[in-house]
């Protein structure tokens, strides 16, 4: 009888694994692992779309005049919007959906149907944004975004509304799931760090995203009904856009990096074959970064003429974030110390993640200093900094996470050689690209220029070279994932493909 039950469950799981075998199950599934995989596939699709846009941007910058200025504006805008809203944020929702219930010992999310709704809001949003082809930069500063002609901007706003709604739904679902559905024995003092970062991120999503929804609505009204929220001639103020926009978009930076830190905090101990060092320091620093993240938005606006009295507190809160960030780095490095390090692909990406995190942190502290920011703001220095955050930290954590959880998700092994080739191409390309951008910024090259002073040419060529390497790496990644998913060798034990049990560790709670 018991054996029969187990067999039944095993068949159910086997059938369940192939939810993608028919359209009907894809459209109707509400299971958290299915939704998680769907989020990941969606986000990787837009990683390639956004990456393609960035290659066209690099092409235009290297072969002067090959891309018209109007097209150039659309390309860098769609690159930014795609990577932020359609790649990184959905990717974390994907990992969260797949992992959080497993890590807390729950059967599913608290609201499975709401969870499916959260995912199905994304495809129309992706369509609206790509069909809209906005051309005002992802920050959409008023009044430029108010004057932008055509429906493109309006479609983008509606797309972002859908994404914001999805983000709020997802955040609420995670908060309730983590608070209400932890298995006995899984407490705030021992739940995996990935769950801690997901909880903090969810609070940021629920608290900050409504502000984005509000400011987008004001922009929609200004564009279509002639209101003047951002129009000085009608008594409005363009600076209000920046305050409200960054009140969302700075916490959004933490929405985009904290879950990555969570994954790294899972992968590093597993691959060093010992327990994480300083569990509570990492958990507390996560919550602290989330909290402080609400008090720094004005550091995007140093050059707009805010009073110095208003700016100074923002400057020091911004710098203070370096402390909990440093605590994390310290604990990660201490986790490596004395471990039996297994240099597999996820581990290599995790190590490169730590290096990128240090580089972007150092860049960030310099940017926070008001007098230095007068020189560096809106130059390639900022572009370098934000790419070290969003590619060096977020995207590399996505890669690390996909390689690490691939055997758990598919029951198959990815190709380690191709994985390391992907890693080599990506890191060489990435550090070339973003360091070239750093020196462009120090030399005084403003960002978002379709043409530039001749003296910046060589560094732009170096940057494009790096971008090409990343692109080749991405193709290797795509091939590796698809072919391994289809016919990779089966793992012996899907519950423990990394053989953690040999070292007294375990992935999921009992």
């Amino acid at each position: 009888m018991e054996i029969k039950e187990v067999k039944k469950e095993a068949t159910a799981q086997k059938e369940h694994k192939n939810f993608y075998s028919s359209w009907k199950t894809i459209l109707t599934t509400t299971h958290h692992t299915d939704i998680g995989v769907m989020y990941l596939v969606f986000s990787l699709f837009f990683f390639f779309m956004g990456g393609f846009a960035s290659l066209l941007v690099r092409y235009g910058l290297t072969r002067g005049g090959s891309i018209a200025p109007e097209a150039y504006s659309s390309l860098f805008t769609i690159h930014g919007v795609s990577m932020i809203f359609l790649f990184v944020i959905p990717a974390w929702a994907g990992f969260g959906n797949y992992l959080v219930p497993k890590y807390i010992g729950a059967k599913d999310m608290y609201f499975p149907k709401l969870n499916a709704l959260g995912f199905w809001l994304l495809p129309p949003a992706g369509f609206l944004i790509w069909a809209g082809m906005p051309n005002v930069g992802w920050t959409a500063y008023a009044p430029l975004s108010v004057y932008a002609a055509g429906w493109g901007m309006d479609m983008t706003i509606l797309g972002l509304h859908l994404l914001g709604t999805s983000s709020i739904i997802g955040g609420l679902n995670f908060i309730v799931t983590i608070m209400k559905m932890r298995a006995p024995g899984v407490t705030y003092r021992n739940m995996p760090l990935m769950v801690w970062t997901q909880l903090t991120t969810s609070f940021l999503q629920v608290l900050a995203t409504p502000v984005l929804a509000m400011v987008l609505t004001l922009l929609l009204l200004d564009r279509n009904l002639g209101t003047g929220f951002f129009n000085p001639a009608l008594g409005g103020d363009p600076i209000m856009w920046q305050h409200l926009f960054w009140f969302y978009s700075h916490p959004a930076v933490y929405i985009m990096v904290l879950p990555g830190m969570g994954l790294i905090s899972q992968i590093l101990p597993s691959m060093s074959r010992q327990r994480i060092f300083g569990y509570s320091s990492i958990a507390v620093s996560t919550a602290l970064i989330g909290f402080l993240g609400f008090g720094v938005w004005a550091h995007h606006m140093w050059t707009t003429g805010l009073s110095i009295t208003a700016r100074v507190p923002f400057m020091f809160v911004t710098m203070a974030i370096a402390i909990p960030s440093g605590v994390k780095v310290f604990n990660w490095v201490a986790t490596l110390y004395g471990g039996k390090i297994k240099l597999s692909t996820p581990m290599l990406f995790s190590l490169s993640f730590i290096l990128s995190f240090i580089i972007q942190g150092v860049e960030g502290v310099f940017l926070a200093a008001i007098p230095l920011d007068y020189q560096l703001q809106d130059t390639y220095y900022v572009v370098s900094h934000l790419h070290y955050v969003l590619f060096g930290v977020s995207a590399q954590a996505v890669f690390a996470g996909i390689y690490y959880y691939f055997p758990y998700m598919t029951g198959r092994k990815y190709n380690e050689t191709l994985g390391q080739l992907h890693f080599a191409l990506t890191t060489v390309g990435m550090y070339t690209l973003f360091t070239a951008m750093l020196f462009l910024g120090l030399a005084g090259a403003p960002r978002r220029y379709y043409q530039y002073l001749p003296e910046f040419f060589n560094l732009n060529v170096a940057a494009s070279f790096g971008a090409i390497l990343i692109a080749f790496g991405a193709l290797v990644f795509l091939y590796n994932i698809l072919s391994s998913w289809y016919r990779g060798p089966l793992v012996e034990n899907q519950e423990d493909p990394w053989k953690l049990a040999d070292y007294g560790l375990k992935e999921w709670p009992d």
Partner: protein
């Protein structure tokens, strides 16, 4: 508490002291930042008008030019305005950037010390031809 934990606390406390020390050093200096009276009475005022996608400089005698021409040793008060969207007045050799917000007048003081020609580059994305919105500041001996 083992050695690593002690090291961690030492790092946290050290970084916190550094932050407060930096604040104590910076506060008096930051007060001088953006203070238009810092250099005393300006010699004259130049009105800077930014629009998509050009710069226009209007001098006290009413004359206008597309490049900013000033004399070595002058203390020049710039009054910057925008006709349409946000632009930003950026001279990298002088290490400053002033965002020009429609509906407001921004003030910036230039101390013309070293003769030469320096690029003025618009530093806030202002539409398709943002990358072409460049001119020069010329400091004559």
């Amino acid at each position: 508490m083992n050695t690593l934990e002690k090291l961690e606390w030492a790092t946290i406390i050290g970084a916190t002291i550094l932050l407060f020390g930096l604040a104590a050093l910076a506060l008096p200096v930051l007060d001088a930042l953006d203070n238009p009276d810092y250099y005393g009475e300006p010699d004259y005022i130049v009105n800077v008008v930014a629009s998509q996608w050009s710069w226009n400089f209007i001098y006290p005698d009413g004359s206008e030019s597309g490049e900013l021409k000033i004399k070595q040793g002058d203390i020049v008060r710039l009054e910057l305005e925008s006709k349409d969207v946000i632009h930003s007045f950026y001279v990298r050799e002088m290490g400053f950037k002033v965002d020009i917000i429609p509906g407001r007048t921004r003030i910036h003081i230039i101390l013309a010390e070293t003769p030469g020609e320096y690029w003025i580059q618009c530093a806030e994305f202002c539409g398709a031809y943002h990358g072409g919105m460049r001119t020069k500041v010329i400091i004559e001996e």
